[in-house]
């Protein structure tokens, strides 16, 4: 037996623990660097009176500690602290984003499957799919909210639809590319087995497309959160992060830390979505390490 089978080595617990520790350390170091850069820029900017690209002061760049502190401060006297509100806002927006993500991913996937089946369909429809993304979401959002609202659909569903609008595109484009990725010989092989269109789709094209699908889902995961946040604004929907951003914007000059805290929560929500997709990918895909980005 000539060849050596390459076995991935770092699977054991003995290897996993130091790796986890190293990752945690890296995260801490990364956050510390970020903190240092922010505070360093702030200190220098105030001392040197920098006005470009923006004036550095307590409003534009509050201390990180102040932002951290804001999470614990009550919004109204004797009310619950900010983190309590933000938690509920995040759950609310997260629900919209998740619904939009699932809806958009499903639409994108099945659209790609349909387009993969015919050159003519592809040539006819692909331009419109591209055009759909050149229309500003801020213009579409009110139409969706009003349009669906008159049909008695609850506003959060409208927001989910807007999130889906941002989600489906990368999924459709990447899945289509993945479905068309098998090389001619792989298709000839299926033809030699007299496999029909349907079998070629499920046994070859779809499995071959999965790495592409997951690349797209990673983009869509964060886009769906953004879509949900943006969608809340024209929907005048209260109770989500979009509402919180609009609200805290109005008080930015006196309480900038509240908006910054909300931004951090928005970012965390996006990261949670992203990591969920990464975890799913690890479960579903068993590929060559270089094929799992």
């Amino acid at each position: 037996m000539s060849a050596i089978a390459v076995e991935p080595s770092n699977r054991g617990i003995a290897g996993a623990l130091p790796r986890a520790a190293a990752r945690a350390l890296l995260l801490v170091v990364g956050l510390a660097v970020l903190w240092g850069v922010w505070e360093g820029y702030r200190w220098l900017g105030i001392r040197e009176h920098w006005t470009w690209p923006f004036k550095v002061n307590d409003t534009n760049m509050p201390h990180i500690s102040k932002i951290w502190h804001a999470f614990g401060q009550p919004l109204q006297p004797d009310g619950p602290p900010l983190r309590h509100y933000l938690w509920h806002y995040a759950i609310f927006t997260g629900k919209e984003a998740l619904a939009g993500f699932v809806l958009g991913a499903a639409i994108g996937f099945f659209l790609a499957v349909a387009l993969s089946q015919s050159n003519m369909l592809r040539r006819g429809f692909l331009p419109y799919i591209v055009v759909s993304q050149t229309v500003p979401i801020l213009a579409i959002a009110p139409m969706v909210v009003v349009g669906l609202g008159t049909k008695g659909v609850s506003p959060w569903v409208s927001v989910a639809v807007i999130a889906a609008y941002l989600t489906f595109f990368p999924v459709a484009i990447n899945t289509l590319r993945g479905l068309l990725s098998p090389d001619p010989e792989a298709l000839e092989l299926m033809r030699s087995y007299a496999a029909g269109r349907w079998k070629i789709l499920w046994r070859l094209r779809v499995p071959a497309s999965l790495p592409y699908v997951f690349s797209a889902l990673k983009i869509s995961a964060t886009a769906s959160v953004i879509g949900a946040i943006i969608g809340e604004t024209p929907a005048s929907l209260q109770g989500g992060l979009g509402y919180a951003i609009v609200n805290f914007n109005q008080y930015y000059s006196i309480q900038p830390a509240n908006l910054w805290a909300t931004i951090i929560v928005c970012a965390l929500l996006g990261i949670v979505f992203f990591l969920a997709v990464v975890a799913l990918e690890h479960i579903v895909l068993k590929r060559a390490p270089e094929n799992v980005a």
Partner: protein, 267 residues
């Protein structure tokens, strides 16, 4: 009844290039026939016409007495390409199992056959490896196991060892001969290695380029089983020389001045 019967087959591509012209060839059951010729002589195209993966412009092909498309639908042949064309997401076992699944074999029958196939290509112990964990030679052995898994009587091979190093190639040549004898199948084998063609075949079909035509046939009377000693025998060298001279004569007829073929065995 011939295993493969080719009558008056021609193939023209849309660009007006004539890939094959007037091919007549019969392959008898149990034969090992190699198609050899320069790039662009249409040998791969001819193999694909036998497999009904591309249609001839003129002429007919029969496999085991059936028209080529009927034969393909009846799973009369297995095919091996230059690349192993294994599915990355399937293990070695699952790759061998692919045609069996498409033929609706039940699980226990599939598993029994996979075990036999792994033994045949000497890959027992690698069933749960993924293709990317195997060397090129091992991947090609999986590909051969997959092609033979449903016991087709005909094996079509398109330069299966072309991408491998010389030593691996020679070892796999010997293995292929053993497999051919154990299974009693008929093999049509495309190559551009003269020594490979002579070592493996019972008959070598020499093809010329532009248009692709059969320039000559060489019967290989080397005795079986063939070993490394066969490669060193005087008769082996005689036959290699014979094939080489036929290839040269085919090239000379066309004139050596013309530019190299543009059509690289296209499908």
């Amino acid at each position: 009844m011939s295993a493969v019967s080719i009558k008056g087959v021609s193939k023209q591509f849309e660009a007006g290039v004539t890939a094959l012209q007037g091919i007549d060839l019969d392959v008898e059951p149990g034969e090992f026939v190699s198609l050899i010729g320069p790039s662009g002589c249409g040998k791969s195209t001819l193999l694909r016409i036998i497999g009904d993966l591309t249609k001839p412009t003129a002429g007919t092909v029969q496999v085991n007495g059936k028209p080529a498309d009927r034969a393909r639908r009846d799973h009369e042949y297995g095919i091996v390409f230059q690349d192993a064309v294994l599915y990355d997401w399937r293990t070695v076992s699952k790759n061998i199992s692919l045609p069996l699944e498409l033929l609706h074999w039940n699980r226990s029958r599939r598993n029994a056959r996979i075990k036999d196939m792994l033994e045949l290509v000497e890959l027992t112990g690698f069933e749960s490896h993924h293709p990317w964990q195997l060397s090129g030679g091992m991947q090609q052995r999986v590909s051969i196991a997959r092609a033979l898994s449903f016991s087709p009587s005909l094996l079509l091979m398109d330069e299966p060892f072309g991408a491998l190093d010389e030593m691996t190639r020679e070892r796999l040549n010997a293995e292929l001969l053993r497999i051919w004898q154990e299974t009693g199948s008929t093999v049509v084998f495309v190559t551009h290695s003269i020594s490979e063609a002579v070592f493996l075949s019972t008959r070598v079909v020499v093809m010329s380029v532009r248009p692709g035509q059969i320039a000559g046939l060489v019967d290989v009377d080397l005795e079986q089983p063939r070993t490394n000693a066969t490669r060193e025998s005087p008769r082996f060298f005689e036959l290699v020389t014979q094939v080489r001279e036929q290839l040269a004569a085919a090239g000379a007829r066309l004139g050596e001045t013309q530019e190299p073929a543009l059509v690289e065995d296209q499908v």
